[in-house]
Symmetry: C2
Subunit: 219 residues, 2 copies
């Protein structure tokens, strides 16, 4: 994953970039405003001038990164066709080390995301962010599922059922992929075992292959 | 979920029971040895006599609960037939409030489990526990998938493929269900949105219905 803060546009982005690097290096629990200051050779007082504390800064970092993702996927300029996009999404969460994609999150970032997401269990500001985050990723996945289903109609892949049998909603498939990807991220970050990653990627792919022909792209 | 500590056998179980109640009440971040002492009207010094600190105690609590689950599922006395058992497992994680089962974890317990699991991102003792935990649940799920697949052979459910086409391994399905359930647990604990729970339960059920006839129960 490339550092999204190589050319900060203003002080906010400079601080967020430092927070991003410090978070990946130290993890959530050991992150302090002092360490964030060190990551861009400024005094902690500059950070305190903009943020009341570590969590306010980290929620702003999460919002900034999510805004970036939302902008990146709002157009039509996808590098990958829809089905490959879905497979790549699952792979990026289940096996971040094995994905050769500059946009895929790396392992340290995934671990930090899990730590931040766990804060949402008890902190309303994080919770509000992850509610929005799940909506943004769900919309991206739903759109990709819709396009992949339309493609499977056009190409006549597999045993395409009659129109009346295309009764699976793209949103249901999107929610399922999203839940699977979040589970993969949590497993990957909290266990040493990696044996499951291949099986989950293969089963997700088999699920898509059997499900997409049953998805109604117009639903 | 019933309190698994209503009849503690010894001091260890008495302390673990107090930790369990205090954890569900206060959550991980606000849990202290003092609050655990208050939960069974003893002085914190009794707790310190047995444990070096909060995390050592909580890892022992996790191990105790996992031992209980492992014992409960080691026999053949399941209340539910295998397929219903798999559906109930997904439901317990995706919508703990909606499950009427004394063995299903309740919401507060799920939230606490997510907080503890997040510790495993940076703490080796938690990590070792969740590695074991995922193995135990995987074995339970793999066994249930195997039995449900054998049942689908016996009953001739759906379009059962020829024997040569039963090429999905029960372990791959088990890992996928386990990953989906963990993702559901994390989503449920960290967002306010509940709209996805029905779709995920339905898609998991559809995945099982199309997959079980392709699973080799002898693999």
């Amino acid at each position: 994953m490339d550092d999204p803060f190589t050319e900060p546009a203003d002080t906010r982005e400079t601080i967020l970039g430092a927070a991003f690097r410090a978070l990946c290096e130290h993890g959530y629990a050991d992150l302090t405003i002092k360490r964030i200051g060190e990551a861009f050779e400024k005094s902690p007082s500059l950070v305190y001038h903009h943020y009341d504390g570590k969590d306010e800064l980290l929620v702003d970092l999460l919002e900034f990164l999510l805004d970036g993702f939302e902008t990146a996927v709002s157009g039509d300029a996808f590098e990958l066709p829809p089905r490959a996009r879905l497979d790549a999404y699952v792979a990026a969460m289940a096996d971040p080390g094995g994905v050769d994609d500059e946009y895929a999150p790396d392992g340290r970032f995934l671990v930090a995301m899990v730590e931040l997401r766990a804060q949402a269990a008890t902190d309303a500001a994080y919770r509000e962010h992850f509610d929005r985050s799940d909506r943004v990723f769900r919309r991206f996945l739903e759109r990709s599922v819709r396009e992949a289903a339309a493609e499977s109609v056009a190409s006549g892949d597999g045993a395409v059922p009659r129109e009346a049998e295309r009764d699976v909603h793209p949103a249901a498939v999107a929610e399922t992929l999203q839940t699977l990807a979040i589970g993969a991220m949590l497993r990957w970050s909290t266990t040493a075992d990696r044996d499951w990653t291949g099986a989950v990627r293969e089963e997700a792919s088999r699920y898509l292959s059997t499900t997409l022909p049953a998805v109604d792209p117009e639903a």
